[in-house]
């Protein structure tokens, strides 16, 4: 019995490693990044679009806009195709086909992000440059690549949400004479709503946080993009591009960029968690 107590104690301590890791990450990112934000005054750091590390001016406004633009574009593409695919898999595809397609979509999530970026560079970027104009490396290219990358997240969480809707809802609607699409639109999507919202938010988190693929296709110039065909730089790519040679205040500013990203992600995480908790509660009421 005594041995069991010791084991229980060891397991409890081990179980705290994830939350300790999170705490360590928070402490160290803030410790490195906060000083420069406090020193320059938050306003200047966040609202100035002037990023010239050599002259000591650090403003990340254009990267905040870049991240927002690219994420918004990715969500449009990721949600339309991701949710569409989830609807096909759960409502229209024969079960045998769905059983094959679902792991295929999950495989999409396993492909390295550098491969997506590379594919964007060799296929998408020349296409945009030749057909639509501009440098090709652009908000649009980054949005499409990121949209494909968030698609598996959106699809697999939406599929789970749609599958969790009780079969009787579907049967009731069909029995009333609704077509399958009417049932999907008016019953299934409504019942699975909070799960789908959680899918969208988690997808958004992935899009905001993606780094290597965006570096490869977004062009990385430090300016507020004027159109979707203009190049842009995101918060993540700013860190990855300059971390290799940064020192002193420059390095602090990159960590401060990380702080900004971290706060955005934590907000998205918390919203997603509370939404998916609500959807679990709704499920348990049924």
């Amino acid at each position: 019995m005594k041995k069991d107590k010791i084991i229980a104690a060891i397991l409890t301590v081990t179980a705290l490693s994830a939350i300790s890791g999170l705490a360590l990450i928070t402490i160290f990112i803030f410790r490195e990044g906060m000083p420069i934000i406090l020193r320059t005054g938050g306003g200047e750091f966040f609202l100035s679009a002037d990023w010239r590390p050599r002259d000591g001016s650090f403003g990340i406004f254009s990267m905040i806009i870049g991240s927002l633009a690219v994420t918004a574009g990715a969500m449009v593409i990721g949600m339309i195709f991701g949710l569409g695919l989830a609807i096909v898999l759960t409502q229209f595809a024969p079960p045998s086909l769905a059983a094959v397609l679902k792991p295929v979509v999950e495989l999409l999530a396993g492909i390295p992000s550098v491969v997506y970026g590379f594919m964007g560079v060799v296929t998408l970027v020349p296409l945009i440059r030749n057909r639509l104009g501009g440098p090709g490396l652009s908000v649009l290219a980054a949005s499409i690549v990121l949209g494909i990358m968030v698609l598996p997240t959106v699809t697999s969480i939406s599929v789970d949400a749609l599958q969790a809707v009780p079969r009787s809802f579907w049967e009731g609607s069909i029995a009333l004479g609704a077509t399958r699409w009417q049932t999907t639109r008016m019953v299934m999507l409504k019942a699975a709503r909070s799960g789908i919202v959680a899918a969208a938010i988690l997808g958004m988190g992935r899009a905001v946080g993606e780094t290597m693929a965006v570096i490869m296709v977004a062009g990385n110039s430090i300016e507020i993009p004027g159109s979707i065909l203009a190049p842009t730089r995101t918060l993540t790519s700013n860190i990855a591009l300059e971390m290799g040679y940064a020192s002193g205040a420059h390095r602090e500013a990159l960590f401060a960029t990380g702080v900004t990203l971290f706060v955005i992600i934590m907000i998205l995480n918390c919203v997603a968690l509370s939404v998916s908790r609500r959807s679990a509660r709704e499920r348990s009421f049924r």
């Binding site: 695919l85 096909v88 792991p103 590379f118 988190g205 990159l254």
Partner: protein, 278 residues
């Protein structure tokens, strides 16, 4: 004019299927495109040689070793911690404030972008703990990154083990620990294995975090404190700096084949697990 519901139905279903088709084709296109350009350049020399002139010529052997070391070590450290956490959450406690905190930690960790892990690993492991840009810094950083996946999948696998197994084990007089190790873990093993293999795949694919923590040395790492370039990072550098497109394609093909093989293996394990608990 109002469209007849049957007309709408037909239009929407066609549209949805078209979208699903495009998505699947995009996936197939990515894989086939890379393999078609890369496979012809993969030879025994390419896999077994060291790179020459920055990777323009020669092979990728040190990177294969680097990837295997960093990713393998990360999973080797993360797996016991993750499985222990899952055992704690499922078998050793009741839902309460502590489990809520542990779950919150894992969920948040899962959402943090890899570049943030990279920044953290860079200050904490490489500088504060003095490990430098090295295999071990990279591996420890990736450990934190894959931990939530291993916790989540192990927890699901353990929960899927029928309650009756536990009751029978207690019934024949085993302690809780005996019940966990000899009954629950044994039946949950394929499910846990799936999570571990998927984490291995994720570690191999990771680029941003290892770039900031394991560095990009082209040499073969002599110890765990040596810097080492992984396959994914090598591919990124080859293509981004325009060093050699053919070697970039070939490296990407090696990566994709490794990921495909791992995913198929995980899928096979999972289907075995589902068949067993059902």
């Amino acid at each position: 004019m109002r469209l007849h519901p049957a007309t709408t139905e037909r239009a929407v279903v066609t549209l949805l299927w078209a979208m699903a088709g495009i998505t699947i084709c995009a996936l197939a296109f990515i894989i086939i495109f890379i393999l078609a350009h890369g496979l012809p350049h993969i030879s025994r020399e390419f896999l077994a040689d060291s790179p020459r002139s920055m990777g323009r010529e020669g092979g990728i052997f040190p990177m294969i070793v680097g990837s295997a070391l960093v990713a393998g070590l990360a999973v080797l450290i993360a797996a016991p911690i993750g499985v222990a956490t899952a055992i704690y959450l499922t078998e050793y406690t009741r839902e309460g404030r502590l489990t809520a905190v542990i779950r919150f930690g894992a969920d948040c960790l899962a959402g943090i972008p890899s570049i943030i892990f990279g920044l953290f690993g860079f200050v904490f492991f490489a500088i504060v703990l003095g490990m430098g840009l090295s295999v071990i810094s990279g591996a420890l950083t990736l450990t934190l990154m894959v931990l939530p996946t291993i916790i989540r999948t192990s927890e699901e696998a353990i929960r899927a083990v029928p309650q009756a197994y536990r009751e029978v084990s207690y019934g024949v007089g085993s302690t809780r620990w005996q019940m966990v190790t000899r009954v629950v873990l044994r039946s949950a093993l394929p499910g846990i294995g799936t999570g571990i293999i998927l984490s291995l795949g994720r570690s191999i694919s990771e680029t941003a975090a290892v770039m900031l923590t394991a560095g990009s040395a082209l040499r073969m790492p002599q110890s765990l404190l040596d810097s080492s370039r992984t396959l994914a990072l090598h591919f990124y550098i080859l293509s981004r700096e325009g060093i050699s497109m053919t070697n970039a394609y070939a490296t990407a093909s090696v990566l994709i084949i490794a990921i495909l093989a791992l995913n198929l293996f995980a899928y096979w394990l999972m289907s075995r697990f589902v068949a067993r608990v059902r």
